[in-house]
Symmetry: C2
Subunit: 495 residues, 2 copies
């Protein structure tokens, strides 16, 4: 794998000067074309490799060549910081994604920790492979969202590494970079090579392939990376990527029976029973979130349903049991422009709660396969791949300790009409009815089919959908509270 990177590449000073001038002008031009493009995309340049192979030198060179105002360089500490507690490992990288039109340079990336932990013997081979598979899916999602992902591995032979580190040590300007720990790490050169070769092989995907760069000669390495970036930018600016291969669109069952039609919308709970049950389950929930075990977990609830299905009222019955300092209700409307400049899941990642906290989404990431699908806000390929991307997302949340529950509040069209009319009659609820609501009513069956497809494809054992018979508000609210208590209790009891 690393053979060609040990072929003794060298570029002399004169050739470097000659080529650098042109390369720089072209990189600047490409960077600006990207920034001003009508369809800008995000560029991620991952810089990894062995100690002394010139990672920081090349990053500094790119900053000299290009416009540093539109480069975002991120470095990540080896350990986890307190803000990451209770959040998935990928959370820190989501926080650092460059917006479309910018180039993000990752000095250290989602590869660093798995490699380091494997080397330290803290990660079994199977666990490493599971992590790499997650990374592959994450990168494929980025690429499908339009990102250009370039992954560089800077290589040195064992001897070459010793030569370069001694040279860095001799130069007073760079001596500070070679520490006792650096030399200690060189002793595990062979082990690192072995792990790296495996990681690179498994993650060398068509969507986001690796490039191995010989790190021994500064001029060669810098020109090589500059050209690689330039070519990739130009190619991508000239031709947008082909749309992803599309799975067949889900078809409704031939007998029109499905998870929603099977619900009994006649379910009711009378006011007396409600007055008894509601405080009972609110009390239980209040107790559960204050258990010591919850301090290390989090709770994420997503509410979906037709307009006027009662999402807001149900959410208020849940929050009544919680301490306002520990929960946040996140209403999902049109994305802000900062959110539109990112992959669609980004705006949900930014609200993922930390340990001991609750986030309640009033509408959610499922908008992708509901409103965006039906209104054509995204392509068919986009919403078709979203099912798996969403499952991955929720899997990451659950793996980090979150309890994830999704509620679909089901009403029938007559009930919706009654509620619309009641809202228009009640002065302080009138604002809730907009022309959009009446328009969406016409698309009732399309929304129903989208909801069925969604539940069938994304209800997993670890992050289940709970369909709620919601024609009767009392019944719906108590059913939701009970479900939250039950799943939360199960999760805490397992700890």
């Amino acid at each position: 794998m690393f053979e060609s990177a040990e072929a003794g590449h060298r570029v002399d000073k004169e050739r470097f000067r000659r080529e650098e001038r042109e390369l720089r002008a072209e990189l600047l031009m490409a960077q600006n074309t990207l920034l001003r493009s009508e369809k800008p995309f995000q560029v991620l340049l991952l810089v990894s490799g062995v100690d002394g192979a010139g990672k920081s030198e090349t990053i500094a060179q790119l900053h000299e060549w290009m416009d540093p105002r539109f480069l975002l360089t991120c470095a990540f500490e080896a350990g986890r910081n307190p803000a990451e507690a209770g959040r998935p490992p990928m959370w820190r990288y989501w926080q650092s994604l460059p917006p479309r039109g910018r180039i993000g340079i990752f000095a250290g990336s989602w590869y660093s920790r798995p490699i380091a932990r494997r080397l330290a013997g803290k990660l079994a081979r199977t666990a490493l492979d599971a992590r790499l598979e997650e990374i592959n899916r994450f990168e494929a999602m980025l690429v499908n969202e339009g990102a250009l992902v370039l992954k560089l591995w800077f290589h040195l032979s064992r001897k070459g590494q010793a030569v370069r580190l001694r040279r860095l040590e001799r130069d007073p300007r760079t001596a500070w970079r070679v520490t006792r720990e650096t030399w200690a790490r060189t002793r595990s050169y062979n082990a690192l090579q072995k792990v790296a070769a495996h990681v690179l092989r498994v993650t060398n995907t068509a969507a986001a392939p690796w490039t191995i760069v010989d790190g021994s000669d500064d001029n060669y390495r810098n020109l090589c990376v500059g050209r690689l970036l330039l070519d990739a930018l130009r190619e991508r600016l000239a031709a947008p990527p082909a749309p992803a291969v599309v799975a067949p669109v889900p078809r409704p069952a031939i007998d029109a029976r499905n998870v929603l039609s099977a619900l009994d919308l006649g379910c009711r709970l009378d006011d007396r029973a409600y007055a008894r049950e509601l405080p009972r389950w609110q009390g239980r929930l209040a107790e559960l979130v204050r258990r010591r075990a919850f301090a290390g977990r989090s709770l994420i609830l997503a509410f979906e349903g037709m307009d006027a299905a009662g999402k807001g009222g149900a959410i208020r019955r849940v929050t009544a049991a919680l301490d306002p300092r520990n929960f946040r209700v996140v209403p999902i409307a049109a994305p802000t422009d900062e959110e539109s400049a990112q992959p669609y899941l980004w705006r949900f990642w930014r609200h993922i709660p930390g340990a001991g906290r609750v986030a309640i989404f009033d509408r959610s990431w499922y908008g992708r396969v509901l409103v965006e699908r039906i209104e054509g806000f995204c392509s068919e390929a986009d919403w078709l791949r979203a099912y798996a991307e969403i499952n991955d997302f929720e899997h990451e949340l659950v793996a980090a300790g979150a309890v994830v529950l999704k509620f679909w509040l089901q009403i029938d069209p007559d009930e919706q009409l009654r509620r619309f009319e009641a809202r228009e009659a009640e002065s302080y609820k009138r604002f809730k009815i907009t022309p959009d609501d009446w328009r969406n009513r016409d698309k009732w069956s399309a929304y129903q089919q989208a909801a069925v497809d969604m539940i069938d494809r994304t209800s997993t054992g670890r992050a289940p959908w709970i369909p709620v018979e919601a024609n009767d508000k009392n019944f719906a609210r108590v059913k939701i509270l009970k479900a939250v208590c039950k799943h939360l209790e199960d999760a805490l009891d397992k700890d």
Copy 2:
């Protein structure tokens, strides 16, 4: 101060039920009017007071009454978390401001830490007063930016506190809230009353007055806070606040001599001297930011100047000396919609570097008194008050350990014209010239006067302006690097 809050207020269950129904509907209506307003404003509700006075109960009640999706409740830990290292104390609150149209409830606020530290004997009276004066200026800025700031102090008599805490302890649903520490704190009741009375008196400003609320009776307290919020919302929705009193607009000096006209734009540095000086000062800077002392400080550079004054080139000569993993260049263009929904300084606060880091602003918060003043993007009152607000902002940065330097790059109109023409000739720089640039040229003297006013009013000993003769790029770049080194070295030597 607290007398009326001990008058034995009580509201019985029946009156509460009767008034609650109407209050709730009106609060919801006001919340929605705010959200849908053409000129929404941010609402900050600060909830402070003694232990057991019902702070969380009332916050929970507001969540029940109003739409929790548009309430943002923030609680703050007592200590500083690692992300705050090197950043001013107000940074955490800036991160938590609600956008316009939303209501932010602060359980604990910028008052908590000064009061706690004063009580613990860690803050001298004079230091406390200095802190309170900063808070007053901060709140006045928020109010001038359109915010509605409501400050509540929940009071209990010493005896009343003991009664309430014992009641909380008896109820299994609330017993967890009364800990040994709570009882320990009650022993310093008198000391807290004394400090609180002083803090409330000093910060009881016309822009953001305090309301003292008797905490002993739940019904009374909740109705009282609900009404207060409702009345304030209604009043503010009905009539926008009167514009702030405006200081006289600065007048140019009668002899047209000023800090910029005094510059000798003939200053030059020939290429040989430049080739010698540039690496010398870059090397010095590289060494300075790697000193151990810098790990606890930060460096903030702001670059302003006419178009084509050479800001970008100068910034690149500075960044060449830095490790890309430790600096960020922040280009300032039009605000995003998330930024527009906040006070104007918010979008700079979000880029304030942590300890050991460098932030370089290509254009800055001074846009307020330059482009926004000249193009009329803000009112005269807005840019006139901005001088003092900016001085406060920079003072906070410096007090937190930042070295803050501001560079004005001065060129003359002939030199600008030469550069515009050169850019249009060079293919990869052509994008840099826009019709706006030619338009701004016509406003040359207005920009010059704005720059003079700005420098005269915001160049302080701790955050100085450095006017740079920039007709010659060599000279300008070296002067800037030397100034950065000198000020940074002085600051580090003082440690």
